[in-house]
């Protein structure tokens, strides 16, 4: 190829310190103006090339061959680094010319107050909660028993000019969410246990990069393929194992279709308040059960957070990333995250209680098993047993503060759950951290899609009481 003489094009210029001596420009110059160097540059410790521009036609081929942004460049550019004072080479620091973004707040839009309650299943209630919370971007991969939520989104979102994407896998799903959430938008998915396992790498990235998003996990029986029956098989996973690294997310545990809507709405607010994913944890029963769901008095038109990588001038400075190369940097980062988890623990504990005011036998249950436990409390009360139900609504952070207040009068704690002790482990860990005295802990457990029934809970309590 013949060198182009570009009369307008400038000759090359090189600041030696920025040359890595790769020789690509030497090879590129048709006029042999550039020679491999012989002297080590004191700043870089590398051997930069030398230029003799006698024969230079300003063809530009050399700087088009230079891999370094501040390496060989056209001489018409005026940059601070051209000043001779080495201090000036590296400063004064100029950051991006882009402005510093500010938060654009969300707007609450009122809904009519006389709306009839909807009669819908739990997954639908959750999907509608997301729509009311301003989510218009859904990503998901079908998996029973969560899919109907996704199907409703597929039906409704086009009518709202929203985006529904059936991803090629759960892995892709969570990364679509990472992108969309990183752009500052409200995004969600529905999944079920094996699907959540697949998402965990991405969840860890979201937590590390502080990307909000809502994951509705409708738990089924495990391990492995297990079955599609209702279970609480992922409590440990979502409370203690959200991917690699120092991770936590708020875990909301609804108990009926109404809460599927309410807590999904809340999940979006929490996700953005803390810049962290939030898990709405349901069981297969809760996903399927149809019930009465009252609508809230408003919907949300989301704003845009200042940190978003939205793809406009205002947000150009921003970076979504979880990488911290320096050990000290990463430790500092983890301590920041930990401080955030501590704030969640201090401020976001939620629970519900039923007849706990004088309860001597305290049942503790979440999700659908809490309904059975509530029925058991009624039957026990009818038989003169002072029973009450404490229901964690956040499984993480565990609502220890509220529980601790009930412990002094309780003679017995009984955990009712659809897993072999995952909820009980959360309780025991919380008790241990809080260092509070507590009565003996008993349990009624089922797994594999079997749910505890009110009668067996009553029987278990009566057995214990009889043994007293």
């Amino acid at each position: 190829m013949s060198p182009r003489a570009r009369p307008d094009a400038p000759h090359p210029h090189l600041t030696s310190a920025y040359c890595k001596g790769c020789g690509r420009c030497v090879d590129a110059c048709p006029k042999h103006c550039i020679e491999p160097g012989t002297a080590i540059d004191p700043l870089s410790g590398l051997v930069p090339v030398t230029l003799d521009l006698e024969a230079c036609t300003a063809c530009g081929l050399c700087y088009e061959a230079c891999p370094e942004p501040f390496g060989l460049h056209p001489d018409d550019e005026q940059h601070a680094w051209e000043l001779s004072d080495p201090k000036e080479h590296f400063g004064p620091r100029r950051e991006s010319s882009a402005p510093v973004a500010v938060d654009r707040p969300s707007r609450l839009i009122p809904l009519p107050s006389d709306l009839a309650p909807l009669i819908i299943k739990g997954t639908y209630a959750s999907a509608i909660g997301a729509l009311l919370a301003g989510c218009r971007h859904f990503f998901g991969y079908p998996i029973t028993p969560s899919t109907e939520g996704a199907e409703l989104m597929a039906k409704v979102l086009p009518g709202l000019e929203g985006v529904f994407v059936q991803a090629c896998s759960e892995v892709a799903t969570i990364n679509h969410m990472y992108g969309c959430g990183g752009a500052g938008l409200r995004t969600m998915t529905f999944t079920s246990s094996p699907g959540l396992s697949l998402m965990l790498e991405g969840v860890s990235y979201m937590i590390g990069a502080e990307v909000p998003g809502v994951i509705v996990n409708i738990m089924r029986g495990g391990p492995g393929l297990g079955n599609i029956g209702p279970a609480q098989s992922d409590i440990r996973l979502v409370c203690r194992g959200l991917g690699h690294g120092n991770t936590h997310a708020i875990v909301l545990a609804p108990a009926n279709p109404q809460e599927m809507l309410d807590l999904t709405m809340l999940a979006f607010d929490l996700a953005f308040a803390y810049r962290n994913p939030v898990v709405v944890l349901g069981d297969g029963y809760l996903g399927q059960v149809t019930g009465k769901v009252a609508l809230p008095d408003h919907l949300v038109e989301p704003g845009l957070p200042a940190w978003a990588v939205y793809g406009d001038r205002e947000h150009r400075r921003n970076l979504i990333s979880s990488i911290e190369l320096g050990e000290a940097d990463l430790e500092a980062r983890n301590l920041e995250l930990q401080a955030k988890y501590d704030r969640m623990t201090a401020n976001e504990q939620r629970s519900d209680s039923f007849r706990c005011e004088d309860a001597e036998v305290l049942l503790l249950a979440a999700n659908t098993p809490a309904r059975m436990a509530k029925a058991a409390v009624q039957r026990l009360r009818a038989q003169g047993v002072k029973a009450g139900l404490f229901r964690p609504v956040t499984l993480w952070p565990f609502p220890m503060d509220a529980l601790a207040a009930l412990l002094p009068q309780a003679r017995r704690l009984m955990v009712v759950e659809a897993s072999l002790g995952q909820l009980e482990d959360e309780l025991r860990l919380a008790l241990s951290h809080a260092g509070v005295a507590h009565p003996p802990i008993e349990h009624v457990q089922h797994t594999g899609g079997v749910l505890p029934q009110p009668d067996e809970i009553v029987q278990a309590v009566l057995r214990q009481e009889g043994a007293r």
Binding site: M1, A17, Y18, C22, R24, P30, L43, S44, E64, P67, E68, P69, F70, H79, F90, G91, R94, E95, S97, A98, P112, D114, L115, A116, I119, L132, G134, R136, H137, V156, G159, L160, V165, A167, S169, A172, N175, H176, G179, C180, T187, E201, Q288, V289, T290, G291, K292, V300, V309, Y310, G311, D312, R316, L319, I320, R371, M372, K374, Q453, P454
Partner: protein
């Protein structure tokens, strides 16, 4: 170039030389690809709205350099992350940048599906035939015979054959522009620069998915000096990964139109079927003759019998009457034609356990369901079954009324087998008095609101069920 930061603050805190030097080894092809990206972004005037997705691999720190919106993706996932950004803001120009291990091995699913969606995205694929960052292991694009840390004797076909990704992309319907370029001489560099600019321009024009594969030098892992590495790529890679345009339908591509999401309450209400409450209550009170607080029902049959529809109608009726109600389905493992059971509760205040292990009322559509659940009906309860296909169960609890009604035959007589569940609903109403007939008729009409032509037939079926029970009870 203004598209690069004036100081690379993110590179080792911008200390010393690192504020103006890349982390790439001398002569690395990444730096050139970055240069051409920077030039293209500048030429197209899109710096403000560009979002660059940094991959995992040597380019993991691409965000050190470009003064654009930056996002760093997990290994293999850059196209999935890019799609998330693009769909969040269609006006943004999203660049997904990946190496060969990232894109062609662990991320093959993501890139293929992103490509097939065909959304305007610009993908830059750096093929240097090795896993460079992790120390020179085999990549999906490593050449046969090429020695790497994990193919110390040279790659054989047992380790798979080099994946020709540009050709693969060109086979897909999604992309509108696919080209493979190289960096090993002036001519190829000019083409590379143009290809990268075109890939971005097509996105600026909202046209579609563009893919540029760049044969790139990794002198370090090739253990060659950079100029020798150029010659190596030319002599060894270019014959296998042939250069040139592999697909270009961009001239025919029509710009995609985008819409802004709506937050209009009316629109949302319409989409989710929310409407103002006009209570139509017919019941004088809770059906205490069945239970003081909570009536449980089990509706059981095979898929297609319509048990779930009856359950949905009862639940809706209960809630419209101002009670709480739940419906939980359960299906056999066969998704079609297997068992189909529904548990329904109607509670005065609140349904607690939604399951019906010992129902007040059983509605059985076949003999199997009748045998299975008949004995579980609690004392004083009601069993209704389809006497067309089943016979009365041998053993039931004390005081349980057992009524056989030929649901299927009555439906058949009406000329529509599918309404047998509505016959059953009528029979259930008459036999249990759970709700007044008007409550269930209203639920039925609501259910058929979109197919009003079917209402008369359903009304007849309901009446047939009611009458059949009346005849039985008169006996």
């Amino acid at each position: 170039m203004t598209v690069f930061y004036e100081n690379f603050e993110r590179h080792a805190h911008g200390e010393g030389l690192k504020a103006h030097s890349t982390h790439y080894c001398p002569g690395c092809g990444h730096g050139l690809a970055h240069r051409y990206l920077g030039e293209a972004i500048e030429a197209l005037g899109i710096q403000d709205r560009t979002v660059a997705i940094s991959p995992v691999g040597c380019a993991v720190f691409m965000y050190y350099y470009f003064d654009v919106g930056n996002s760093q993706a997990a290994h293999g996932r850059a196209p999935a992350v890019a799609l998330g950004h693009k769909l969040a803001n269609p006006e943004s120009i999203v660049i997904s940048y990946q190496g060969d291990g990232d894109l062609a091995s662990i991320g093959l699913a993501e890139i293929m599906h992103a490509a097939q969606m065909g959304l305007p995205l610009s993908v830059i694929f750096i093929n240097n035939a090795t896993y460079a960052m992790t120390g020179g292991q085999m990549a999906p694009t490593t050449l046969i015979g090429q020695k790497t840390a994990t193919t110390p004797e040279g790659r054989t076909t047992f380790a798979g054959q080099p994946l020709k990704v540009a050709e693969l992309m060109a086979q897909l319907d999604g992309p509108i522009y696919v080209e493979r370029v190289a960096l090993y001489d002036n001519k190829q560099r000019v083409k590379a620069r143009k290809a990268i600019e075109k890939a971005l321009r097509l996105q600026v024009e909202h046209k579609g998915f563009s893919f540029v594969e760049v044969l790139s030098e990794c002198p370090v892992q090739l253990k060659l000096d950079p100029v020798e590495a150029q010659a190596w790529v030319k002599a060894n890679m270019a014959p296998v990964f042939t250069l040139g345009v592999k697909k270009d339908t961009s001239a025919d591509a029509t710009p995609r139109e985008w819409h802004r999401p709506s937050f209009d309450p009316e629109l949302l209400m319409g989409q989710i079927g929310a409407s103002p409450d006009h209570p139509e209550r017919h019941a004088a009170g809770f059906p205490v003759h069945l239970d003081a607080d909570d009536v449980s029902l089990k509706l059981a049959g095979a898929g297609g019998d319509g048990a779930q529809t009856v359950a949905a109608l009862l639940t809706e009726a209960g809630i419209r009457e101002g009670f709480d109600a739940t419906h939980i389905p359960s299906y056999g493992p066969e998704s079609r034609g297997g068992t189909s059971y529904a548990d329904v509760h109607i509670a005065r205040e609140e349904v607690l356990s939604p399951a019906s292990p010992d129902p007040h009322v059983l509605l059985a559509f076949n003999a199997l369901s009748l045998r299975k659940f008949g004995p579980s009906v609690r004392p004083g309860g009601v069993i209704l079954y389809d006497s067309t296909v089943a016979e009365a169960p041998p053993a039931v609890a004390e005081g349980v009324r057992v009524l056989g009604v030929p649901f299927a035959r009555l439906a058949h007589d009406l000329g529509a087998a599918v309404v047998k569940n509505v016959v059953a609903l009528g029979a259930l109403q008459a036999a249990t008095g759970l709700f007044p007939p008007a409550t269930l008729r209203t639920a039925l009409a609501r259910h058929l609101a979109k197919k009003p032509e079917l209402l008369p037939l359903n009304e007849q079926a309901f009446a047939a069920g009611v009458e059949a029970v009346a005849r039985l009870m008169a006996r």
